[in-house]
Amino acid sequence: MSFNSLEFIYFLSLVLCLNFAVPNKYRWIFLLAASIYFYCSWNWEYIFILLFSSGIDYYAALALDKDGCKNRKLWLIASLGTNVFILFIFKYYSFAVENVTHMFNLFDYQVSFPVNQLLLPIGISFYTFQAMSYTIDVYRRKLPAEKNWLRFLLYVTFFPQLVAGPIERSTHLMPLLRKLQKVTYASAIEGLILILIGMMKKVVIADRCAVIVAEIFKAPTALTGWEVLLGTLLFAFQIYADFSAYSDIARGTAKMFGYDLMINFKYPYTSCSMREFWRRWHISLSTWFRDYLYYPLGGSSYGLFRQCVALGAVFLVSGFWHGASWTFVLWGAVNGFAVICEVFISKIIPNDTWLNRWWSTTYIGKFLGWTYTMTFILAGWLCFRAASFTDLKELFFALSRFNAPSFFSDFQITSGKLLSIGVDSIDFVLTLSSISLFFLYDLWKRIEKKSVESSVVSIEKPRQVMTWLVILGLILVILMFGNFDKTIDFIYFQF
């Protein structure tokens, strides 16, 4: 049951109605039942893995929280180890086997390992990280262990953010789940508008880009530089619109039940440096890595070298988290390299120099910063999107081929490749217009220094007619311009 389906709208409507019909004391149990049903609608068999891993985490946290608990570290390792092991088996086993076999083959040894034919349980990367953050926070005594296993299960399985985040912190979400949340009419309306904005980003922007991107990257050897650039640019907006759409729908859904989930994106493509980009992109994951990997590795407290090592480790692991493929690791490496270079430069050129001031305060400086940042971001996305290293090599070679006629004859929008997949000139213009408007909207919000949810979404005194006209408008845009030809899963479902 994907967020961008009618089934989800029916499900949400029903759960919303019943949730408020259930007595206050039992509402969280009802939410838990709905969350489990939601997860089982994907593949019911994998609920047992979730139950098993959450059971381990629950008992480990209880043990950690006991006064006079010896071997606290062992309990922590047991909990984290279980989560990492489950993640390894389902997500990285085949990759590990492939690489180990390849290494042995280099030395002419033949080895064989059992084949893993298990499907990747949906949301596993997200809920294991969320569960691990809970155990670590209990270990660090940031919050008490939850005594009620069902309530802990609700924390892990809370359906708005179960499948693709945001990866909530236990210190934020657990206290919310422990008490009844008040839902005001205004916050419920804000939630509904957020959901509609998310749907619009998904079906109007992301899914339209997805069709063209898939066609472009189908045959990398035949591409010219223009096509690679177009494909990369469209993919950059596809992944942003797709992922931020999921986060919007997740946050909007949670808001309708009275829960405020964390913001996951803050206009990332308006960033003027890679460090800034990583403070604005997939914030829940980047802060998770900051708090649970970067700081434990020393952060910036032990000198420049150690800081660079910590940053490198974070970005490599982050790349790996996205998928069992060296192209994801390369994506992480590209981003890590850029951030490390910035840290290095910031040590060499202190903040109070004229160069630094010029770079960060003037329009030309900011524009140059934005250009350099976008170059690295797009280079990273090219690695991210490539199906393999071979394809990536072809794509980079293609960047040296900028013969214009190939672009116009093969991707001519009145005939040729795009038309063969059902994309005509109007669809193409609509796609480009929508991503332009999306970017300009972000830029406007950034320049006006507006918070992520001000203007349309923030409703202190809902003016009913205006509000419902906005909602009607959003529904019309979704229905009219949405790409419903094929149900395209959210990109981050594969992680």
Binding site: L6, S13, L16, C17, N19, F20, A21, V183, T184, Y185, A188, I189, L192, M256, T414, S415, S420, D424, S425, I426, W468, I471, L472, I475, L476, I478, L479, M480, F481, G482, F484, D485, K486, T487
Partner: protein
């Protein structure tokens, strides 16, 4: 409790009202955006009228645009001695839709030739091609509102899901240069039997590859065709079933799936499978564009083959 009564239900009520208002708004506006009365889809009016007017015994051809483009009904008539009604318009209307459209006007002694595209019989994507693609159903509904009475509940639900896309496509057509489309895809491009003939003297443009099949067969589609054949048999109506012509390249890529599908079809006792798929595997230069449509030469050869097979079967039955 107060919020439950005033807030949550209110929001849901207003949301669904806004949703239905959006659907109604588009339903209301789309006919005014609809293509002119000479559009391809408007041919449905003529075909339905032809179906009702043609006396029995008659031959009814059902299927998508493959039979609109690819059958010479006058030749069939001369070979089999019965008037022909070619109901083909667009495969994406769904084979179920065509079956529903003709049910009331089939009489004892009639022959129904079901010559379907492959897509209704395997699962691919989120839409069920056998029941019809949502946007096509909606677009046809906006042109031929009586279609609503011929759809079952599932199809009506599918149609409503196509409101948005149908509206968008109708809007696009207003701004697009029709180009080749208007030379071929027009109401007055059909002849008196319902065959499209506007493409016969034109050269094929670059043919576009068909989407490959999948291995997941739509059992429901086969069951419906079997049930339809059985009911017609009880009414003394003969139903023959076959697939559209395909290019050699498509057959080579999809041979295992086609064979599997044919084996499944033979399991159904009431489906009168007229010819194996291999019979209508043609070279690419028999096709117009896209590769569901035959050009003049391909149309002639296909009509000869199918007419001979039908005649042979009818003689064997006597």
């Amino acid at each position: 409790m107060q919020f439950f009564i005033n807030g949550s239900i209110k929001i849901l009520f207003f949301f669904w009202t806004a949703f239905l208002m959006a659907i109604c708004l588009m339903l209301f506006i789309t006919p005014s955006l609809s293509p002119d009365e000479n559009s391809y889809g408007h041919a449905m009016h003529d075909k339905m009228e032809l179906l009702k007017k043609t006396p029995s015994p008659k031959i009814i051809l059902i299927g998508g645009s493959n039979i609109a483009f690819g059958i010479d009904s006058q030749f069939v008539r001369s070979k089999l001695g019965m008037p022909v009604v070619n109901m083909g318009v667009a495969g994406s209307l769904g084979l179920q839709t065509y079956i529903n459209l003709v049910l009331k006007d089939i009489n004892p002694g009639d022959i129904v030739l079901v010559m379907s595209e492959y897509s209704p019989f395997y699962k691919s994507g989120s839409e069920d091609s056998f029941l019809g693609v949502s946007s096509t159903l909606f677009t046809m509904f906006s042109i031929y509102p009586a279609l609503w009475d011929y759809l079952n509940v599932d199809q009506k639900y599918i149609l409503l899901q196509g409101v948005g896309k149908g509206f968008y496509q109708a809007m696009k057509k207003k701004f697009q240069n029709p180009g080749l489309a208007s030379a071929v895809y027009r109401r007055n491009g059909f002849n008196a039997e319902g065959d499209l003939i506007s493409h016969l003297e034109l050269e094929s443009s670059k043919a576009v590859d068909m989407e490959n099949m999948t291995s997941v067969i739509s059992v429901h589609a086969l069951q419906v065709v079997d049930e339809f054949s059985k009911k017609m048999k009880e009414r003394n109506v003969t139903v023959f079933f076959g697939f559209e012509p395909i290019p050699i390249t498509f057959y080579q890529k999809n041979a295992p799936y086609i064979k599997k599908l044919e084996q499944e079809i033979l399991e159904y006792p009431n489906i009168n499978y007229l010819y194996p798929a291999k019979t209508l595997v043609f070279p690419q230069d028999y096709f117009f564009e896209p590769l569901h449509h035959l050009n003049k030469n391909g149309r002639r050869i296909r009509t000869e083959i199918v007419s001979s097979l039908v005649k042979e079967r009818l003689l064997r039955q006597q």
